[in-house]
Symmetry: C2
Subunit: 328 residues, 2 copies
């Protein structure tokens, strides 16, 4: 049933094997010599107003071009704090692992998590592992909770007004497409990488833009989902320009073949943001060449409209039912 | 595959069904009119030094006499904060739910969580739900993260000295026994209830005891596990008195039949604590009649010894391998 290379139920029972897992896998992965397992709770050192965010993660396949579930679980929660205007400081991690899961894979996942946390000056301060009997899980599920310190409490959907500009920080649909290609379903293959990454370097610079009103990471539901959130919250409309929205060729091709809308596909390392009309575009381009102005906020249309490259316009629908490909 | 009474994959996809689940199940269960789902992160109002704790939960059966996985998931994390000397303030919740799980059961679980949080003046501020395809989970798994404010930062294993007294706040082994009886394995039945509860009312009073040095909730590994933790951390010994340790008749009987050690069975609503020798026993009894002085700290024996009711003594072993019954 078990051997030294796979997770056994005893790895979750608080005894010697769990200690070995913590000290031999998690401690080096998280970049510390040993993890103190004698404490039930950990003190935080927070200077400022604390902000919290939490998320659960399941992805198939667990490893995909550009990332894995561990990187996704750290970036996802850190990005939620960042787009809320907070700088992340601490992270807690919960693993639910199926009995028999390879310890080498777990080590890769934990190493991704530790690296991503360190790269973004975040400390993983607490965690727990539960092992599920074989057949009661599909590999590994992760839940992360992040604590940050608020830098810009003024960001909010409610501040969006007619005439504001809508920006995206890079190409859309890369994560959803990369995960689907990694499954090698429909006979499709490709070398596209997920955009899975922490948006801290970008957001730190955006926070200095005085005209910034709102940020969101377009994950589940994609670019279209965030635009509909703006419409639903404000009663205003969003007019997007197809020519201005960056979409990689592989994403566009896959969407054409399978009938997907690239604007509904998940991104995991992009920021959609809204700024007032007096924003200095040159200043934004200095922050990142990849930033594109993709649309404007309109008065009371209560719709997300797309000016197509052919000169027409169409309604951009909200994702209904399952995202295709299902990536969470 | 799915109907209106069970969880479908679409309940986890961020669309309409997930909104309905949040507003129709989680909002009333958590005792609020609506849950704001437009924010990726939530501001906390912390006055004092923040402390964090996190834990994952899986239990079979999901409902047991005296509780369910929801109550367990809230109490477990709140208790970890409390025995660390912190008063819990906020909680985040992650659900991993198998497709097809009854919404009525989820509602019961969420209601337990909301009730337990409210009873202990804790706000559930953030959460996430992931739905796992049928066969990729066994019902429901929950991860909780709690944030509290430190009241007694001086509590620590390192303050324990020879001559200190060891106390337990009530009968031991009730949770482990109740869960096992609920499985109706081995032809055993019983009406024993788990002690699953939040220890806040007790801990708030214990925090005023000046001679208090250390608290721990004896969950996985039981009373024996905490005593061995004391021995391993201090190099001192623990001498327990069998006659003084409260064990319910049903727990004792089941242990005798199946060969379990009641001191290794999990409690989920008890506190083991250590106080200096000058402690006023009458004051402790005023806090709770159920508090029992069960042993003393000895010099350098580096063992957990039990004075038996027959006048002999034996070594109390640490749990090796799987806890029996496996309750997590």
């Amino acid at each position: 049933m078990t051997n030294n290379n796979t997770i056994s139920l005893a790895h979750g029972n608080g005894g010697r094997l769990m200690q070995e897992l913590i000290q031999n896998v998690f401690a080096p992965a998280f970049g510390v010599k040993t993890l103190d397992t004698t404490k039930d709770a950990v003190a935080l050192d927070l200077r400022g107003h604390a902000v919290i965010s939490t998320d659960g993660f399941t992805v198939d396949p667990i490893f995909f071009p550009g990332g894995d579930i561990g990187k996704l679980a750290v970036c996802g929660t850190l990005n939620d704090l960042l787009v809320s205007g907070a700088i992340p400081a601490y992270l807690t991690v919960n693993f639910f692992i199926e009995e028999g899961y390879p310890i080498s894979s777990l080590t890769s996942i934990a190493t991704s998590m530790g690296q991503t946390a360190r790269d973004n000056q975040v400390r993983i301060v607490a965690g727990d592992t539960k092992v599920l009997p074989r057949g009661n899980a599909a590999g590994i599920y992760i839940a992360t909770t992040g604590i940050g310190v608020m830098q810009r409490a003024d960001l909010s959907l409610q501040r969006i007004r007619t005439g504001d500009s809508v920006f995206i920080s890079g190409t859309v649909g890369d994560h959803g497409t990369a995960v689907m290609l990694a499954r090698q379903e429909f006979g499709l293959h490709g070398d596209l990488e997920s955009d899975c990454s922490c948006v801290k370097p970008l957001v730190e610079k955006l926070l200095s833009i005085e005209t910034l009103k709102f940020m969101r990471d377009p994950t589940r539901g994609g670019l279209a989902g965030v635009c509909h959130e703006i419409v639903n919250s404000t009663g205003l409309g969003v007019r997007l320009k197809e020519n201005a929205i960056p979409v990689q060729d592989q994403v566009r091709t896959m969407c054409e073949i399978l009938g997907y809308d690239p604007y509904q596909l998940a991104c995991e390392g992009r920021v959609l943001f809204v700024c007032g009309p007096e924003t200095d575009l040159a200043q934004l381009k200095q922050i990142s060449e990849d930033i594109c102005e993709i649309g404007v906020i309109e008065d009371r249309s209560s719709q997300v409209l797309l000016e197509t490259s052919l000169g027409g316009q169409r309604i951009v629908p909200e994702l209904e039912g399952e995202p295709l490909p299902r990536i969470c």
